[in-house]
């Protein structure tokens, strides 16, 4: 009985990592399309169906586990945090796709303005990668580091805002371009928040406490 349960938990773990890999891939491709200012690349960002499908799959798996195995203690924490984590991962995927969509509108070109958003995207990708790494390695320190790193991303967002305010004050600014930049920055900021959520759920699955 326990053997089968262990196998199922193992599979759940594997599926979650795969889901994480999908998210990393989506966000990395969006960021690449952004820095190269290449709408064609943005079109190659996988649409949501793949990630959504995986999300459903993992949710079903979690519910099945809860019903059939009625896990307790740590197992219960693992399954319930998986159920929550997968939602955050799906949101990361969705927002990456949103960024890609904005880029396909071709208002964005690789300029000095995008450099700061590029730096921001690097920071966000690091957060997402680290949060999934923390999950893979069940590493509390890493999860806490991700939570702390959110401040860096927030400060980037502030910088982008300041830059955009300056940009708006210039008469020759293309408004659509500026707003697109703002949206992208906001999406990245949101992705960072989701990475923080994932890290918190990792902490919860290890300690039973979302704050570690």
């Amino acid at each position: 009985m326990r053997l089968k349960f262990d196998e199922q938990l193992d599979l759940l773990n594997k599926e979650l990592i795969t889901m994480g890999a999908f998210c990393e891939n989506a966000i990395a491709m969006s960021a690449k399309a952004l820095t190269e200012g290449n709408p064609a690349l943005a079109k190659a960002v996988p649409d949501l169906s793949q990630i959504d499908h995986k999300e459903r799959e993992i949710e079903t798996m979690c519910l099945k586990l809860l019903l059939q195995q009625q896990p307790v203690a740590k197992d219960l924490r693992v399954v319930s945090s998986a159920l929550k984590m997968v939602t955050d991962m799906a949101r990361i995927g969705a927002q990456s796709a949103d960024i890609a969509e904005i880029i396909t509108l071709a208002n964005i070109h690789a300029t000095d303005d995008t450099q700061i958003i590029y730096d921001m995207s690097v920071a966000v990708i690091k957060m997402v990668t680290d949060s999934i790494d923390a999950f893979v390695k069940k590493d509390m320190q890493m999860a806490k580091a991700v939570i702390d790193y959110d401040d860096v991303v927030d400060s980037y967002f502030d910088k982008v805002k300041k830059m955009l305010i300056e940009l708006f004050s210039k008469p020759e600014t293309d408004g659509e371009y500026a707003i697109d930049l703002l949206m992208i920055a906001k999406y990245f900021e949101r992705i960072g928040d989701h990475a923080v959520n994932i890290a918190k759920w990792v902490l919860f699955s290890i300690t039973g406490n979302k704050e570690g």
């Binding site: 773990n13 990592i17 795969t18 994480g20 890999a21 999908f22 999934i132 893979v136 390695k137």
Partner: protein, 551 residues
């Protein structure tokens, strides 16, 4: 074994006990019977004398306790009996002892009573008058004897049983002890039973064999581990569930994994989706390969299924670093593209001008400049082809070129002289300074090094700029430096200017001219002379190229 020995000993002891009881009883009984018979005979003889002397009166005085005495006449009728009434007694003539006595004078017999509980001895003697005197004595039979002895026998039996059990326990333990204490690790060192020595020898030889095989196996494993461990390529073995069974140091380093990863999923080491794809393929029995970028480098990853009897038992992943290969490939592709482009451009103008001339669409006094342009472009092409030829020559290592003892300074003088007109046209001052520097090298190559460096220094210069060529010989090295006051090279280009056809100005501008191969030739020529090329440059201030030759 102890139990079995114990049981056997007990059984043997009891059997011996019972047998000896029976035999002992039998022998004793027979002995006593014989003694009794002899006594009876003696008594009969005594009684016979008595009867012969005294007649019937003998019986009156007779006090018989143990014996029964009867007197039988010749007809077999009992005349006297000490135990029973003679009237009731039957004729005794047919009795065995009587018959014997009648015929031989003395007879005897033994008879059991009806219940078998008693045995009677009879002894008869014929008297002188022909009558027969018979004595008889009854004796307990062996059964009665046995029954009577039941109690002592039982006591003896119990004692014997206890004794035999105690002894059997000790003996069987003693017998088994050497067996239990056998040292199977050193079979030949055992002293105990000779009967075991064939087994022990066999065990010893088998152990030796086993040890030999184990050493061999370990050796092979070590060999394999050494090979896998020293491989530059990463190798990972996975079982059919995709769990890592073995990972070599190269793969560990590449995926920054530790030994704990054995038994975990491949996904926890590397979340690359393409890698997962080919791995899944391999676990379904299909070979997969792909070139994947991991951690900033390109890896060709092969995933091979490991099958046994057509069932996939796992997969093997191999990581080959192909970054260098890809780079080389890229450079080669770019080179080909550049060569064709560079060759095509002058050809286009040549063919354009030639077409105009052919169709006689050129004014008479334009014909000379047109021909001049065709000549110039053709010259460019020749220069380009020559450069390419000398480059490919250098690629081959310039083996067929003769090394000579020459003076670098003299070569520099020649180069500067031939570039003087060009420098004048661009209003650049060309200066040569330094000392004589004798060197063993290939003159053509050394000349082209100086020529190309100076040529670039003149071309990429400002008006009224300066080019200073300096040759110094010191500390065992010859240093050639070409310094200009030109436009300079930005740091990001400095590394790449030695690549073929690489130009800082991407427009391949014709205004400057040149083939884009000059510095590439310099690099290769320097390499053949084991020389080092350094570039120091500031944008807008000028550049210095320093070539250091070992003497």
């Amino acid at each position: 074994m102890t139990k079995r020995i114990f049981r056997s000993i007990c059984l043997v002891a009891l059997t011996v006990f019972l047998a000896s009881v029976v035999l002992f009883m039998g022998v004793l009984y027979e002995y006593f019977s014989n003694v009794e018979q002899a006594q009876l005979k003696m008594q009969t003889t005594l009684a016979a004398q008595g009867v012969t002397n005294e007649g019937i009166d003998y019986f009156h005085d007779l006090k018989v306790k143990n014996y029964r005495i009867s007197w039988i006449d010749t007809e077999g009728n009992v005349i006297f009996d000490s135990a029973s009434d003679i009237a009731e007694m039957e004729n005794h003539l047919e009795r065995k002892e009587v018959q014997e006595a009648l015929s031989s004078g003395y007879g005897e017999s033994r008879r059991y009573s009806a219940t078998l509980m008693e045995r009677s001895f009879y002894s008869a003697q014929k008297l002188d008058d022909g009558t027969i005197l018979r004595l008889s004595i009854s004796q307990n039979s062996i059964l009665t004897l046995l029954l009577g002895m039941t109690q002592p026998i039982c006591i003896i039996f119990v004692i014997a049983l206890i004794l035999s059990i105690v002894l059997a326990i000790q003996v069987s333990k003693k017998i088994v002890k050497p067996l239990n204490e056998i040292d199977l690790d050193n079979p030949l060192s055992n002293e105990g039973y000779d009967e075991l020595s064939p087994f022990l020898r066999r065990i010893d030889s088998q152990q030796k064999q086993l040890r030999g095989q184990k050493t061999e196996l370990l050796q092979k494993e070590n060999e394999l581990n050494t090979i896998i461990g020293s491989m530059n390529e990463g190798m990972i073995l996975l079982n059919q569930k995709g769990k890592i069974i073995s990972i070599n140091p190269a793969a560990k380093k590449l995926l920054s994994a530790d030994t704990d990863c054995i038994g975990s999923d491949m996904l926890s080491l590397c979340r690359n989706l393409e890698l997962q794809e080919i791995l899944t393929k391999a676990l379904h029995g299909e070979r997969g390969e792909n070139i994947i970028r991991l951690y900033g480098e390109s890896y060709q990853i092969d995933a091979d299924p490991i099958t046994s009897e057509n069932i996939v038992k796992g997969a093997a992943l191999f990581f080959f670093n192909v970054t260098e290969k890809e780079k080389a490939e890229q450079i080669r592709r770019e080179f080909t593209a550049n060569v064709s482009h560079e060759l095509k451009t002058p050809l286009h103008s040549i063919s354009g001008y030639a077409e105009l001339l052919k169709n006689d669409m050129v004014k008479e006094n334009d014909k000379i400049p047109f021909a001049g342009k065709i000549y110039d472009e053709a010259g460019r092409m020749i220069q380009l082809v020559e450069d390419i030829i000398s480059l490919s020559h250098l690629d081959e290592g310039a083996d067929d070129m003769q090394r000579e003892n020459i003076d670098l300074y003299t070569l520099a003088e020649k180069a500067v002289q031939s570039l003087e007109p060009q420098a004048d046209t661009l209003c650049v001052t060309l200066e040569l300074s330094g000392v004589s520097a004798p060197l063993n090298g290939i003159p053509q190559l050394l000349y082209s090094v100086i020529y190309n460096l100076c040529d670039n220094a003149i071309k990429y210069n400002h008006e009224n700029g300066k080019v200073m060529v300096d040759i110094q010989s010191k500390n065992g090295v010859i240093v050639l430096s070409v310094k200009d006051t030109g436009i300079g090279i930005a740091p990001e280009h400095q590394e790449r200017i030695f690549e073929r056809f690489y130009r800082v100005d991407k427009s391949h501008s014709k205004a400057v001219g040149g083939t884009g191969l000059g510095l590439s030739i310099v690099k290769h020529a320097a390499k053949i002379h084991n020389a080092k090329v350094d570039v120091k440059s500031h944008v807008g201030k000028g550049s210095t190229v320093i070539v250091t030759f070992p003497k």
